[in-house]
């Protein structure tokens, strides 16, 4: 599971993890849940049709998971009467209910993830995937998604909805099979949400914690005094263009220093409140953010993440 606040680079990290897993030879599927087609887009692929997976690299597929499609796939498994199903799917009441029923979409999406994780390959009889990565929707929503199986189990205490929900809960809370990975930037709001979500998912919902990815970390190798010195010296230059250029260089220096300071402050807060192995990913300065940048982060995860994980295992 890859979770985090909207806009922190969850999809990027999920894709970087997917690339790294595929490179290691794991048959990997990355599930996107909001139909945005972001991950597929990063790999230059059209999003797969709803409920389907598309292969984007050797060993790497991207699944366009969708609540309604998953529900229909599921119903087809338990009610194998095509004519009856077609009548149900076409009915107004069914469609209204699916669109509005509380939590149904979320439940079925997580159910689909469970199904993909357990699914056997018809030809080989082995598990179809070695790794399923869920690029979860933004914070509030992902908690809603991950909470649904337990909520459903508690709401329906008997019958097979309760039993099926329990199986999904079992997967989500099994430390040998599942890990929740958090993505954040080292800024106030994303860090607040990460701390809150860490407590909710790993505390209340008993989901096994994975790693913490801190994305877009600014680091500087110059000091405020350097900027002050340039400012003073620039004022004495004769050329107006040169003065303007140096002013701009100084301004960019302050901009980067400012963000680096903010990052340092919130990295400290993360250390205090989220006890997870941490991988810091540098802010990528690029004219255009694309697959090349994802690869760069993937290589970074490989080196830093590997070290962090093995240190953790040793401890």
């Amino acid at each position: 599971m890859v979770v985090g606040k909207g806009g922190v680079g969850k999809t990027t990290v999920a894709c970087a993890l997917g690339l790294e897993a595929a490179r290691m030879g794991k048959r990997t599927v990355l599930a996107e849940v909001d139909g945005s087609g972001r991950a597929a887009g990063l790999f230059g692929a059209e999003p797969a049709s709803v409920g389907e997976a598309v292969q984007v690299r050797p060993n790497l597929h991207i699944l366009n998971a969708d609540g309604k499609a998953s529900l229909e796939e599921y119903l087809a498994l338990i009610i194998p009467i095509r004519r009856l199903l077609d009548a149900v799917f076409a009915s107004r009441i069914y469609n209204y209910f699916v669109a509005a029923a509380p939590g149904l979409k979320e439940l079925m999406t997580i159910g689909k993830i469970w199904w993909e994780a357990e699914r056997l390959d018809e030809a080989t009889g082995r598990r179809r995937w070695d790794l399923v990565i869920l690029d979860a929707p933004a914070t509030g929503h992902s908690v809603q998604y991950l909470r649904m199986p337990q909520a459903t189990r508690d709401a329906f205490s008997a019958g097979w909805v309760a039993r099926e929900s329990q199986r999904v809960v079992d997967l989500l809370t099994d430390p040998h099979r599942t890990a929740v990975n958090f993505v954040t930037t080292a800024e106030e709001m994303p860090v607040n949400e990460t701390i809150e979500m860490y407590r909710e998912l790993c505390g209340e919902l008993h989901m096994p914690p994975g790693m913490l990815f801190v994305n877009r970390v600014h680091r500087v190798n110059f000091h405020r005094e350097d900027l002050a010195r340039v400012t003073t010296a620039a004022a004495t230059l004769k050329s107006r263009d040169e003065r303007a250029l140096l002013q701009e260089v100084v301004r960019r220096g302050h901009e980067e220093l400012g963000w680096a300071e903010i990052n340092t402050e919130y990295l400290k807060r993360l250390s205090r409140e989220v006890d997870l192995p941490r991988v810091e990913l540098p802010y990528v300065f690029a004219e255009e953010f694309g697959l090349e940048q994802v690869r760069e982060l993937s290589r970074h995860i490989e080196t830093v993440g590997g070290a962090v994980a093995s240190k953790r295992a040793g401890a």
């Binding site: 009467i81 509380p102 329906f156 000091h223 350097d226 010195r229 340039v230 260089v249 004219e287």
Partner: protein, 390 residues
């Protein structure tokens, strides 16, 4: 370029939409502050402001009880500035409290187990309550300007579609299927009349356990009458969202993914007949020199060395050139996005500052970029043009 002056002059409600992490809350607060300084009685409705911004808006001191309580802030001039955090947590409870026909009916609903799950998990209920509270404040007539910060949803559209979604869920023709007759002859009769329906109900019973169905049925029975007027209410909500005096302000940052979502948003508000009036590009990196002048790294390092940065020259030059690369990308992405907008949409570009904006002075730093009138005022004051921080 048309900034937001006209938008502010012509509208009573400004709804800030956009994906998470683009500075929507700060933008909403900055718009409201400017409106108030222009002499308007202004309120900003916010969802979940960062702590320091909340402090600045007077919203944090009392914690959660602050939700739903308007706080007036001291500002200069004739206008007033009030901030209020929308109450989302108890959204459904409030709805039940307001519409329940009797205290008994209210208690029965509030203690129903199905209701408790529903109110916690119903996607969109918080968004709906935000619009509902907006309506109430608007209709009170106490404010000249209402600025709304929409919930941080990945798809800002959730906010706009939530009222319809809830109305659909409570649609009578659907609800009646879940109401009491299940326990009398209703569903049983149906079962014999129609084999298909019979199979379906047996499946549903097996699936959920009969006890759970009873709770569901009881819930809908208790709700009977509660939402009699709900459709009218939803119509009123949409009327306000589509009113001539309501403006949607899309807040974006010039990043590929954000802009892609924004394109989708623009199309969708158009289809929903809601008026997009302005786009604020936030955290923009402006290119210093697009003409390739003096941007050679070696010459820049040499120049920096002459300016006293012998040891840090390379670091400073690289930092600057990296920002220039980002800025080039920002410019291209914004141009492409702008080309798709109607020429009636006002546009503002706010630079990437060197700090979080979390107090009144910080918010005011955005004003010259949002409003031409603020820019010209700051030009006539002692310094030329807007200044950057530090």
């Amino acid at each position: 370029m048309k900034t937001l002056d006209t938008v502010l002059a012509r509208h009573r409600v400004m709804i800030c939409a956009g994906s998470g992490g683009v500075g929507k809350t700060s933008t909403a607060a900055a718009l409201a502050l400017y409106g108030a300084r222009q002499g308007l009685r202004t309120i900003v409705l916010t969802i979940d402001p960062a702590r320091r911004l909340a402090d600045a808006l007077g919203l944090h001191a009392v914690g959660n009880e602050m939700r739903g309580v308007p706080r007036q802030l001291p500002i200069e001039g004739d206008g007033t500035l009030t901030a209020m955090m929308l109450d989302q947590k108890g959204a459904w409870d409030a709805l039940v409290e307001r519409h329940a026909p009797s205290p008994e009916a209210r208690d029965r609903i509030l203690t129903n187990r199905f209701y408790q799950h529903l109110s916690q998990t119903f996607a969109g209920s918080q968004e709906y309550m935000a619009v509902e509270q907006l309506c109430e404040i608007h209709d009170s007539g106490q404010y000249d300007l209402i600025v709304v910060d929409t919930p941080p949803t990945q798809h800002a559209l959730d906010f706009l579609e939530a009222p319809q979604r809830i109305a659909d869920f409570l649609d009578k023709s659907v609800v009646k299927w879940f109401v009491k007759p299940y326990f009398s002859a209703g569903w049983a009769t149906l079962r014999f009349m129609n084999r298909t329906v019979g199979v379906l109900f047996r499946k549903i019973e097996e699936a959920t356990g009969v006890a759970a169905l009873a709770e569901v049925s009881d819930f809908f029975t208790s709700m009977g009458g509660l939402f009699e007027n709900f459709e009218a209410r939803v119509r009123r909500v949409y009327e306000l969202l589509r009113a001539r005096t309501t403006a949607f302000v899309l807040v974006v940052s010039p990043e590929e993914q954000v802009l892609r979502e924004a394109e989708y948003f623009c199309r969708a508000v158009g289809e929903l007949r809601m008026p997009l009036r302005a786009v604020v590009f936030n955290r923009v990196h402006h290119e210093f020199s697009g003409r390739g002048r003096m941007l050679d790294r070696d010459r820049l390092v040499a120049l920096l060395a002459r300016a006293g940065a012998q040891t840090s020259g390379e670091a400073l030059a690289d930092n600057f050139l990296r920002f220039e690369a980002v800025a080039r990308g920002d410019m291209v992405r914004m141009e492409v996005f702008r080309a798709q907008l109607s020429k009636h949409v006002a546009i503002a570009e706010v630079p990437n500052f060197d700090a979080d904006l979390h107090d009144m002075a910080g918010l005011a730093r955005m004003h010259p970029y949002l409003f031409e009138s603020a820019a010209s005022r700051s030009r006539t004051s002692e310094r030329a043009g807007p200044t950057f921080g530090a």
